[in-house]
Symmetry: C2
Subunit: 353 residues, 2 copies
Amino acid sequence: MLTIRDIAREAGVSTATVSRVLNDLQSVTEETRRKVLETVNRLGYRPNGLARSLSTKRTGTMGLIISDITNPFFPEIARGVEDVLNAYGYNVILCNTDGHAEKEAAYIRLLVEKRVDGIIFASVRTDKSDLSDLDANGIPWVLAGRTLPGIDRDCVVVDNILGAYQATQHLLQLGHRRIGYVSGPFHVSVNMERLEGFRQATSGYGLNASELPIVEADFKQAGGYAAALRLLGPQSDLTALFVANDLMAIGVLEAAHDLAIQVPEDLAVVGFDDIPLAALHTIQLTTVAQPKYEIGAVAARMLLDKIDRVNTDGDRSSAKVILTPKLQVRRTSGADLSPQIGRQPATVPDAEK
Amino acid sequence: MLTIRDIAREAGVSTATVSRVLNDLQSVTEETRRKVLETVNRLGYRPNGLARSLSTKRTGTMGLIISDITNPFFPEIARGVEDVLNAYGYNVILCNTDGHAEKEAAYIRLLVEKRVDGIIFASVRTDKSDLSDLDANGIPWVLAGRTLPGIDRDCVVVDNILGAYQATQHLLQLGHRRIGYVSGPFHVSVNMERLEGFRQATSGYGLNASELPIVEADFKQAGGYAAALRLLGPQSDLTALFVANDLMAIGVLEAAHDLAIQVPEDLAVVGFDDIPLAALHTIQLTTVAQPKYEIGAVAARMLLDKIDRVNTDGDRSSAKVILTPKLQVRRTSGADLSPQIGRQPATVPDAEK
DNA sequence: TATGTATCAGAAACCGGTTACATCATAGCG
DNA sequence: CGCTATGATGTAACCGGTTTCTGATACATA
């Protein structure tokens, strides 16, 4: 493979000049520029990004840490991240951690060695110390859709407590009093925030939240299915379930179907996330919508900002951005949708992009 | 940030020795090894992967080119790729091209400059010349789930013609004669193969395939929705639609619902891919299943093989792997499922992983 | 004509690793 | 006891760019 020295020799100039032409820097005669570019094109020279990065200390690569891209919550976030970063000339390394701390730690080590210009965590298992480790190594990071105890900067999140509160209140207003919570893993902060919103809403109605059943699952469809089977046994008196994310809510709907429980007549279900399939007319899941693409896009911009700021050696951290979730009332909560006469308008979920 | 020279000085050895310890190469006294490792840990040294890659000519990074990660067909492929490559110490750069040739070309240029160790194309717009360009630059590649005219090696594909043939035959056997084809973009090879399978099957029943309506769409839900509206107008005599992928088939189902057309009573629908949501009890889409995770995993292994083979300077290309698709009969085609008494068994699609 | 000032281009150091080769000490052997 | 084989370590070149510093040239000005 050709090097800059080959081009320099062939064009009869120095490597410095070739470099200047390639980065159109400073002053180079039109004549030499032409000569160099001609040589570059004729020989099909491709500069070596590694060598460039080694001396410029910029790789043009970012890391994106998520738990699992097959969870429909993440693709849109990833897309938001990728679109913004790519527009600024960056590439994205995708890291699926499955929520395992060791996998995450291994990825972080790899990303540090690759000297990525920044990392976006759309899923976190590390604690603050690992992040300050990154700070120490001069690698900016941002949290997308998650927070960590003790961190109230450099993150873009949705107000999970508010969203869960509204979802639960929606069920309460429909008259439900025996409401179960299908929980994500207890160690995940977003889940605990949603649980908190659930508790606040039920307490507001004079219910003792600790008497309402809570089952911990794994944010996956199969987990939601299993949790529902446990919660909806024969002696169950539950009339509604608030489910910590849509994927599990889908599992709950499957379980209800298999148990011959009618939704929403016998059981109201509300999810969280508003993943694309929630809007399908055959599902019509009532859920708390998060602006997923925007979360990714905002996080990416925040990271770019942070990088800029490091270079101009100003303040190192960005503000916290809180996006507002929106309760999306559909069929599965059994709310009276009659004000909207007749059929729902055609739903074409992915038309907006 | 620390360099290997800092460690060498601090430990009182040469950089060569530090390097040897870090790569546990050759012979180093237990004594010095301990001394070096102690220094490395004490100072928290992280080797610079760029420098390493520059001299070893290995980056430990691969590129994965897909059209859009928010298309539910791709996450599983990406996951298969990532799992395998990560197990071998590689990272994956994700590239969303939206099927645009220019975006793809730009990404390829970037990946070449970054000197990735290989590229997996799960979506291709380039022609053979760009690929031989990669060959010329010594960057191995593999096609996953797609072929290109004139290429019959280095790819793992599903037999699209067979799959489409079986799907169409399924409709024909159910008595349908007026069958429409909701097509993906005509320039995409997998789509043309599916169309070919559709033609072969209909011809086999003495139908003139050119008389059956075909509408080109974009492989997206909204596209399928729009195509269905065109195909299912008031004067339509179609009783079945074969749809080139599941995402569009979902759009077709939405359209049918909005047009008050009963599926499968008034219209049978068959898709292709078997994306996760096709199996949901509320959808039950009959479709041709592709082993998506396996496509990604096999492609990744094939790429690793190819890299090995380049190093041992043997043959440069791998065989073609053809996986067999499987017709998954569900509700939307209206087949008589009565042999299976009563309810379908609980479907928990993501339980297998 | 002499001097100051821009502009253009080259030489060489540098980024931070790896590794071929050289050196040196020690052990083994006749 | 001297020679060689072996193993541990160091020296320095190299990977392929960027960038500082410096020199050369041309032009304008006094």
